[in-house]
Symmetry: C2
DNA sequence: AGCGAACGAGAACGGTGTTCTTGACCTCAG
DNA sequence: CTGAGGTCAAGAACACCGTTCTCGTTCGCT
């Protein structure tokens, strides 16, 4: 999206100017991520600029506003998270459905615990006054699509799942299936994916936001236990 | 906690001063809640003061800092949410276990959708630089305790639940059971309560933070569908 | 009746995001 | 090779923000 910006400003794509410009954008985001990790959710442009030995207004050459920078961080975050999950899954044999399911879940948890502030950006409170632009919805779907892939891949080996899904919910599911061109995915199976997806991020948010701190010590086992149950619900054989 | 403050400052408990003081505190919180509902997560003391026709520094007579005001709002929020859930459950016949379960879940969802900014305060990102004081943990447990109550009340009518719970998780559960003096609650049953509890807030956070907006239209049915499944998992008979 | 505490106003400090102007620099066309 | 135009960082400025402090005023209790 910011490469677009370069073009609109009238810089030829491969020019040296454009290269240092994009490197500068990368460094700004990198420093911002570090600040985010240190300070928590409130990102200060002036602090980022200070860390770079630069004045705050200079950042506006690269990002039109603080929200734009945050948006870029969010997109990068979704992509990093999606990549981490995809890589973890790729390391598991393709026919080990349960292994892939748990690998994805654990990768998401690991990434979230390693980048709590970024995770909060992605899955916590919407930033006030800030409406997530459409650019964020595509990267945001990567994790759930990974889960879908697992069930599509192993379709014939899955255990049957109850078909009782409320009619209007089934309609929504049908629409989503059509949008994603996954014609051979039954609604009740996608339903179970969404149940696992909801639970995955519900539990990680609880852990990441500190709600389990005083309750559970064996948080890794607790997480695996939950996600194994979700795999059961999705009909993934043991 | 702020009545304590009054005492420490040296005001006799029932005095007129103390009364107008506590009324003032109430009004500040009320105005702050309205601001929160309008502006979203970022609460501005100056805006609150402006709404009250008062100067910002005057607020410091009643709350020692912005964090303290937010803490008060959080505690009030937990209590309002807990009360809403308890009231909804009380309106259902005591032996209708599933009805009570769904009533609690729906009450939480309804409250969250009616007070999204407050819900974000309670269950979203931890406020940056702000560590939840211990005063908030007790009110925060009310909802899950309501769910526990349902299963304890109907213990003999519940369907059996798999006893396979990882050892270290079982230890955590055992400790929680002892802390809450619920000696007759099996670990695997409490486990299922926590699964439902996690899913409840996971799904509501998704909905409240807008993650379901473009995916599901039948959100109420979707929610009921999920929570009914959680009731199944907890062994609540149909 | 008078003392002292609580109060609200206001100024001040250091922080924030954002805008605008200014001057230096680089790149490319003539 | 020179000049024009675009890009850049800097800095001042503006309007906010939380917080602290000081200053009269007010008001309740003894």
């Amino acid at each position: 999206m910011f490469s677009d910006l370069c073009d609109t400003v009238g810089m030829s794509a491969g020019s040296l100017r454009a290269r240092v410009r994009s490197e500068m954008s990368l460094e700004i985001k990198e420093v911002a991520r570090r600040r985010l990790a240190v300070d928590g959710g409130n990102l200060s442009l002036r602090a980022v600029a200070r860390d770079m030995g630069i004045v705050a207004s200079a950042l506006y050459r690269y990002f039109p506003s603080r929200d734009a920078l945050i948006t870029a961080l969010i997109i990068d975050g979704y992509e990093a998270l999606g990549t981490a999950a995809a890589d973890a899954q790729a390391a598991v044999p393709r026919d080990d459905l349960r292994g892939r399911w748990l690998a994805v879940c654990n990768a998401v948890r690991t990434w979230a615990l390693a980048h709590p502030a970024e995770y909060g950006l992605l899955y916590g409170n919407p930033v006030p006054g800030y409406a997530a632009p459409n650019d964020t919805v595509a990267p945001a779907t990567r994790v759930v699509l990974l889960l879908v892939d697992i069930l599509v891949d192993g379709a014939e080996r899955l255990e049957p799942v109850p078909t009782a899904v409320p009619e209007r919910v089934r309609t929504d599911l049908r629409r989503l299936i059509d949008q994603q061109q996954q014609r051979d995915l039954p609604e009740e199976r996608l339903d179970r994916v969404f149940i696992g997806w909801t639970h995955l991020f519900g539990l990680i948010s609880f852990e990441c936001f500190g709600r389990l701190d005083i309750m559970f010590e064996a948080r890794a086992e607790y997480f695996d236990h939950h996600m194994a149950l979700m795999a059961d619900l999705a009909g993934i054989p043991r």
